[in-house]
């Protein structure tokens, strides 16, 4: 192999086989431009080459989910003329390098995926994974990511309403930043498509000028930046939420005025991916002159322009007669627009540099013919034991809890979500203080529910169990608030897919999620895959983050997640599918025990839980709060419900139970607080009479006391301040 070729393979990150395939498709040795195009579009991020074969398993659809194959984001029909589009995306590696901008541009990117369809973004959420809080740079990374999400989200005017923050040492060298957005279509509102059409139509570039953002000669892998030399530094993509806000308004306005045939945002691989995908989907060609691209830096080469990841840019197709009104609208919003070329029926993308032809290539060769790999994997060997669960012994509960506070495992993260504007839009009913966010839909007044899922400790214990839980748990949490799960998006974060053990985790997760989504009648309609979260052979735990939307009849009277007043009864409803001790175990000892209940039973139970809310309202059952029992069991859940001056006492009713059981994970159980014990217990027993549940009083709420058991007593004031401690 010539040294030139081996250099190119390294710079453009293509394998020898991929190069051979590219050469065959082109029919000649690729030129620099062609290397760039294939490199971008055949990257894992753009082509999904290692995952596509498995993502087909998410094919389940129902009457609410029109099939929009290959669109930017999934759409759910909510009835009453209302629709939503939603999707989740990762921005992991950039956030590790520059956390503020990495997270900010992650938020910006996912918002564009939503409004490129013509939906107004109305809610944002995030899913974050950090390493050990004491690991090098970790505090700096956490603060930076939160700052990035908050500064971008707040300025762009979309409320950040829910999220999840996880910690595990396996994320030390690879943090995860996943951003989710939900957009709304009202009745009569036009949806935009991304397939180009109409020979003679114009290809128009709108938004920010193109600069060198994201273009780099040197590899971004090593983060040693002591060297002042400018050329060695990566060109960090900067997000400008102000610009994005202008772009949102301008794009929605031109769509409303019906000035646009098709639209796509310039995301990863910027102009390259948007132009090739639009033309390939529309089965048309383009003639584009790269010299017409508005530039921030006039010394940029055509390669720079094609690979630039400058933010806040869109590509539109419009009819020639609509151009001047389109450009005026963008000008009104202080945004650039430039005609780059036109649509042609000859199915080739012809890239020009003034008069010079850079390449003339069939977009399908790159998009449709992208490689697809069947990476080797093993069928999943699940951690299913049916022998009795052995409770760990000799646990110092007090120091366990202290450690949990120290490692942020018990942190309430108020210091994080108090930096997010949760109420802009005046739609928010419940937000970050609750497990499930609810926003009021403009037209019908119903409540749109949003929750994220995927619990690190379960994923580490067993990828398949964790992946089932990633779907069931948010659906369960939603059900407790009276909301029914409608649809799912995912962000599948995994390590190196070329390693069979990682690929096995991936396949097991995808299959578990697909199966759970069918059980719940909540199709997976959009998603993202982030592979290669690996540094120096160390891979992240399997992390299939889930975003779930649901529906509630109204936004009125949603029960809170916290204790409301002292002298109330705490009642637990326990339905077992899985028991484990993720809290009390170190990583080495993984135990779990499945019951006889099937997945259909879980789905049925969740459905029955969802019917609870309306019934308790109708029958005036004085339930004051409701919460799913999380990992760490009853004890940890009650700890998390402490609010104001209200604590709890579990010591009398559970005094016959071994202390370790108070910390045992019991999927899926929940607790309620109520002022009328007998009425509530008989109500719950009647409601769940067809289910193998255990319903009993487990404790009471008390003023300024935390008694987990007779021996585990915590100081109220210290504990409260620990919850609220932030970075």
């Amino acid at each position: 192999m010539s040294s030139d070729l081996s250099q190119n393979l390294k710079i453009y990150r293509l394998s020898m086989e991929e190069y051979e395939k590219m050469k065959t498709l082109l029919g000649h040795e690729p030129n620099v431009i062609e290397w760039c195009l294939f490199s971008a579009l055949w990257s894992e991020h753009c082509s999904y080459k290692s995952s596509k074969n498995h993502l087909r398993k998410f094919s389940f659809r129902n009457s609410n989910t029109p099939d929009m194959d290959g669109e930017n984001a999934g759409v759910v029909d909510l009835g009453y003329g209302e629709k939503i589009a939603f999707k989740m995306e990762s921005h992991n590696h950039p956030s590790f390098i520059e956390p503020v901008q990495g997270a900010a541009t992650g938020v910006g990117g996912i918002l564009r995926d939503i409004f490129t369809m013509g939906a107004r973004p109305i809610m944002s959420a995030n899913y974050l994974c950090f390493g050990d809080i004491e690991a090098p740079r970790m505090k700096h990374l956490m603060k930076g990511v939160v700052k990035g999400i908050s500064s971008y989200g707040n300025c762009v005017g979309v409320p950040t309403v829910t999220g999840q923050t996880n910690f595990h040492p396996l994320y030390n060298k690879n943090i995860l930043v996943n951003a989710l957005s939900v957009g709304y279509f009202g009745p009569e509102q036009r949806m935009a498509l991304s397939n180009a059409s109409g020979s003679g139509n114009l290809v128009v570039y709108v938004g920010a000028k193109t600069g060198r953002d994201g273009v780099h000669g040197a590899s971004m892998a090593s983060a040693s930046f002591d060297d002042d030399s400018e050329s060695k530094k990566p060109n960090v993509q900067i997000g400008d939420p102000f610009y994005e806000k202008l772009l949102i308004e301008a794009c929605l306005e031109v769509l409303e005025k019906n000035l646009v045939v098709a639209m796509q945002d310039m995301g990863a691989a910027g102009l390259t991916s948007s132009s090739f995908e639009m033309s390939s989907k529309g089965q048309v060609g383009f003639i584009l002159d790269l010299k017409k691209v508005p530039l921030r830096d006039s010394s940029m080469t055509p390669e720079d322009i094609l690979l630039s990841e400058s933010q806040e840019r869109m590509l539109l197709i419009c009819k020639p007669e609509k151009l001047s009104e389109l450009q005026e609208t963008f000008k009104k919003w202080s945004l650039d627009s430039a005609v780059l070329g036109e649509v042609q029926s000859d199915r080739k993308v012809k890239l020009m540099w003034g008069e010079e032809v850079l390449t003339n290539i069939d977009p399908d060769l790159i998009v449709e013919e992208a490689p697809r790999y069947d990476r080797p994997y093993q069928p999943w060997n699940s951690l299913q034991k049916t022998q009795a669960l052995q409770a760990p012994e000799k646990i110092n509960f007090q120091s366990l809890i202290e450690k949990a506070f120290k490692t942020s495992k018990l942190n309430r993260f108020q210091w994080i979500y108090n930096q997010y504007d949760q109420r802009v839009g005046a739609r928010t009913a419940t937000a970050c203080e609750s497990a499930v966010a609810h926003a009021r839909l403009d037209h019908s007044g119903r409540g749109l529910a949003l929750a994220v899922g995927c619990r690190t400790d379960l994923m580490v214990m067993d990828a398949q169990i964790g992946a089932f839980d990633a779907v069931y748990y948010p659906a369960f949490q939603m059900a407790l608030k009276g909301s029914v799960a409608l649809s799912i998006t995912d962000c599948l974060n995994f390590g190196n897919p070329q390693k069979p053990e990682i690929m096995s985790q991936f396949v097991a997760s995808v299959e578990a999620i697909a199966s759970a989504s069918v059980q719940l009648n909540a199709p997976v309609i959009s998603g993202n895959v982030s592979f290669y979260n690996e540094t120096l052979d160390e891979n992240i735990p399997p992390t299939p983050a889930i975003g779930m939307v649901g529906m509630r009849d109204s936004v009125e009277d949603i029960l809170p997640d916290y204790f409301q007043a002292p002298m109330e009864y705490i009642v637990r409803v326990k339905m077992d599918w899985l028991q484990s001790y993720t809290w009390l175990n170190s990583l080495e000892q993984k135990v779990s025990q499945f019951t006889e209940n099937t997945h259909a039973d879980i789905a049925g139970f969740i459905k029955q839980c969802q019917a609870l809310d309306q019934k308790r309202q109708a029958e005036l059952i004085p339930i004051t709060s409701i919460k799913a029992i999380g990992l760490g069991g009853l004890a940890v859940t009650c700890l998390k419900m402490v609010q104001g001056n209200v604590g709890f006492d579990l010591s009398f009713d559970t005094s016959l139970i071994p202390e370790s059981e108070l910390f045992r994970d019991e999927l899926y159980s929940f607790i309620v607080t109520t002022t009328d014990l007998d009425l509530t217990i008989s109500f719950l027993k009647k409601h769940f009479k067809n289910f193998p549940v255990d319903i009993r009083k487990v404790g009471e709420t008390v003023t300024e006391k935390i008694h987990i058991s007779k021996k585990i007593i915590l100081d109220f004031k210290t504990t409260k301040s620990q919850f609220e401690k932030g970075l």
Binding site: S151, F242, K245, L246, N418, Q419, R423, V424, S554
Partner: protein, 214 residues
């Protein structure tokens, strides 16, 4: 009684739709006023400047918005003694436009703060407090990064004596001088506050005390 309310819209204004819906829910007529356009004072009864991040909050909050054509008309409107309400970024813009005393600095903890606040009504003698009584406690949400009210001691004394302190925080979240959450001008026709009344219209939002303002 139906009022004509003008709602200025700058590049980056976020809470315009929220404010419009709030105003219209009262049966008033609300019209957006584009930042590049002038308007006639006689066409409107009230002007309400909504929150958001006008011009990205760049340079200084409200600084660039304050120097736009629509604000020239707002100045005229103010000089005629007609009522103006500024919310959050609206407050910042009115200060930059010198229609209100003082300035809003970055929050003391240097972070954006989103949380519910209990406020006390100090003076209720302005067009937007007809349903309030002095010393009344109300609950409104704040969401801002630059809400620390500052004025020099002479100005603070003056506005205090003149009854221009409209609302104060019961628990100061951002370091504002004299716990100030909202002020009025000397003539008491220009009023502004950092909290968001339009986000407290219904109990399901968390509070309905925003209704006291219209």
């Amino acid at each position: 009684m139906s009022l004509n309310v003008g709602i200025p819209r700058f590049l980056g204004t976020n809470c315009d739709e929220d404010v419009k819906r709030w105003i219209e829910s009262k049966g008033f007529r609300a019209t957006y006023l584009w930042y590049e356009d002038r308007f006639e004072s006689k066409d409107f009864d009230w002007i309400v400047i909504p929150g958001g991040f006008s011009h990205g909050d760049y340079l200084r909050c409200g600084a660039l918005a304050a120097r736009t054509p629509v604000m020239k008309s707002v100045q005229e409107f103010a000089s005629k003694g007609k009522p103006i309400l500024g919310i959050c970024n609206g407050f910042q813009i009115l200060c930059e436009a010198q229609l209100l005393p003082g300035v809003l600095l970055q929050n003391k903890n240097l972070r954006f703060i989103d949380q519910w606040q209990t406020l006390t009504v100090q003076n209720a003698d302005n067009p937007f407090s007809k349903m309030m009584t002095t010393q009344q406690h109300i609950r409104l949400p704040i969401a801002h990064g630059d809400g620390q009210y500052y004025a020099d001691s002479e100005t603070l004394q003056k506005i205090n004596n003149n009854g221009q302190i409209w609302l104060t925080y019961d628990e100061n979240p951002n370091g504002s001088a004299l716990n100030i959450a909202g002020v009025t001008n000397e003539k008491k026709n220009v009023c502004a506050l950092m909290p968001h009344p339009e986000r407290a219209q219904f109990e399901w939002m968390g509070s309905s005390d925003g209704e006291l303002f219209l």
